[in-house]
Amino acid sequence: MDQSYSVCGRLIIEVENLVKHYGEVKAVDSVSFCVEEGEIFGLLGPNGAGKTTIMEILCGLRRFNHGKVMINGFDLTKHSRKIRGMIGFCPQETLLYDLLNVRENLAFSASLYSLSSRKFKERVEFVSTVLGVGEFLNRRVEKLSGGMKRRANLAASIIHDPPIVILDEPTVGFDPNIKREFWELIKNLKSYRKTVLLSTHDMHEADEICDRVAIMDKGKIAALDKPHVLKKTIGGEPSIHIRVKESQKRKALQILGEYKSTVIDDEIRIFTVNPWEIMNEMSNKLSAQGVLTEKIEIVDPTLEDVFIRLTGRKLTEES
């Protein structure tokens, strides 16, 4: 767990030995991590890993059984209300009122944080520019597209200008284009010195936008570091991915028997120290035995590989 403190900036979130039980089930099991100011920190893991529980604890929505949480220097158990004012929480569901327009929803959120009308106007301008909600400010939420709703939802979460933004599965259910657009919005927040803590079970998302990632499994942090460091240190070497016809898969595995291989989905993956040297050799061997390769490529390790190496399971299988 030393990695959890391997940061050099000012710590804005510090979580130490956090434990949360739901009856007999230990949803969060001695979790420790810290987040630096201005950082995008990801909690990556499958459903049920304890990500949402941790986020809801940080937002003051749930109590915890054991541990210590400090936000911006304040102890969560003693200063819950003060801390809630510093956080903009955006859960995965859209928490907007359909019959109100976006501006009215923003006004409602602002009222919860006692924003003055002058500050509210400033913040509306800010979210209009940064999140692009200006074009549909006066449109009722029920008339918005899914992407617009999520942008408005995020806008409502940060209308009070919080230093910390907590996003629970911010892009779940998005199509790839909107997802990329949303990633840019999140990265944009970082440029405004916002600290972002997000949960995701999308390894690409974690890889793409997070400065550091905590990989979670069964309520525990299995690994924590920068994505490229995790991939390098835990993900292992690049692997060769080979796809053949289903009817020839058994034969192909026999031919490639001398290599360390495994089957994931419809692909054979070969783990070797130097894939560039043996890829052609493999291709030739398969062709000579009459096995046609539909695809053969060298793939760098991903956070998915990191998760597999840590848990023995695929991240997406459980998502």
Binding site: G60, L61, R81, R84, I87, L95, L99, S111, L112, S114
Partner: protein, 373 residues
């Protein structure tokens, strides 16, 4: 304070944009108003308590037999009073529905066919007063016939003269005058309760409660905000209903706003508090909404909103008397029909205040417990 108003404003805006809700908020009471006027504008068997002041108490036992005869009708329950002032006090407090004064020398005058009685009927409810008047007249007519036959052996049909008085100041009271104050109890029960029931359950179901709870506000602020919004919606309902009643029925009533407003407020607070309790107990909006509607429908029969609780069996009347809304319905009638003053309203106001405080406190405790889970 900002967050309380924010929550209230959001709820009020949402209410006005749900066209269906607005429509039914207005349409339902209007339908009920018309329906109940049509259905209950007729006689229904009942039992009424009648006060008797017997200044005669003759040695022949004539007045005693009148009193026991009235008791035996099964329609009247008789209470004895020593003087008229005491009986009138009970009449004004609606503890008796009519007072019969038997004057001195009644028996002596009865033998010469010159007997007279004084009958004072509570005219607050035209149905009840008509039943009492007719019942007493019929009784004395029969009594006199039998008395004359026993003493003179002949039939004689002239009744004892009854000098009637209606114990309500002002003009004649018709059914519409009686039904309108009762109908104005409707928003206190239905609108306030159903609105506040939906308030929290809706937020919880939609997930928006999470957003509110994640904000740096005290949990109680949300209840206050919801209460403000429910009060507003109840007020709209009352104004709409009163306006429609005036336009459609044109009742001649005393619209004493300084007295009516506190009763409306206290009644609404009772309904809202009850709704909050249901809201904190209900798991799903549909469940809570059904519970609130069912409770409101049941309560309306106990509270004397549409017809006097005298029509109910005794045990149901007793249940009605422990329901705060009964006092609101009665207080509205007292103000609008009987021209009651502040002094007359101390008991209902006190009852409504205490019950609102107790119910609201229970609602707050349940909400806090739910939030802390």
């Amino acid at each position: 304070m900002n967050s309380i108003i924010g929550i209230a404003v959001k709820d009020i805006k949402t209410f006005f944009r749900e066209k269906g809700t607005v429509f039914w908020t207005i349409a339902f009471p209007v339908m009920i108003l018309l329906l109940f006027t049509a259905i209950f504008g007729r006689e229904i068997p009942f039992n009424a308590t009648i006060g008797v002041v017997d200044y005669e108490k003759d040695s022949f036992g004539v007045t005693a037999s009148i009193i026991s005869g009235l008791n035996e009708t099964g329609v009247f329950t008789i209470r004895d009073f020593t003087d008229k002032a005491e009986a009138m006090e009970e009449l004004n407090a609606t503890n008796v529905r009519a007072v019969i004064i038997i004057p001195k020398n009644f028996t002596q005058k009865l033998y010469v066919s010159q007997a007279s009685l004084e009958l004072i009927v509570d005219g607050t409810n035209p149905d009840v007063s008509r039943l009492i008047r007719d019942g007493i007249k019929t009784f004395f007519s029969e009594f006199y016939k039998q008395f004359y036959y026993q003493n003179y052996g002949i039939n004689y049909t002239e009744p004892i003269t009854l000098y009637e008085e209606v114990a309500v100041v002002g003009q004649q009271i018709g059914y519409k005058e009686n039904i309108v104050p009762g109908m104005l109890t409707y928003p206190l029960l239905f609108s306030s309760m159903v609105v506040s029931t939906g308030a929290i359950v809706f937020e919880r179901e939609k997930g928006t409660l999470k957003k509110i709870r994640a904000a740096p506000i005290h949990p109680i602020n949300m209840l206050f905000g919801k209460t403000l919004a429910a009060l507003f919606q109840t007020t709209v309902s009352i104004i709409v209903m009163a306006s429609l009643a005036i336009v459609l029925l044109g009742p001649r009533l005393n619209w004493n706003a300084p007295l009516l407003i506190p009763i409306f407020f206290l009644g609404s607070m009772n309904g809202i508090a009850l709704g909050l309790i249901i809201s904190c107990i209900g798991r799903a909006p549909q469940e809570a909404s059904n519970a609130a509607t069912t409770i409101a429908i049941v309560l309306q029969f106990f509270t004397g909103m549409y017809f006097p609780i005298d029509y109910l069996p005794t045990y149901m009347q007793q249940i009605g008397r422990v329901i705060p809304m009964t006092y609101a319905a009665q207080a509205l009638r007292d103000i609008m029909i009987r021209n009651a003053t502040l002094n007359n309203l101390i008991l209902p106001m006190l009852t409504l205040t205490i019950s609102a405080l107790i119910l609201y406190a229970i609602g707050v405790l349940l909400y806090k417990r739910w939030v802390e889970k």
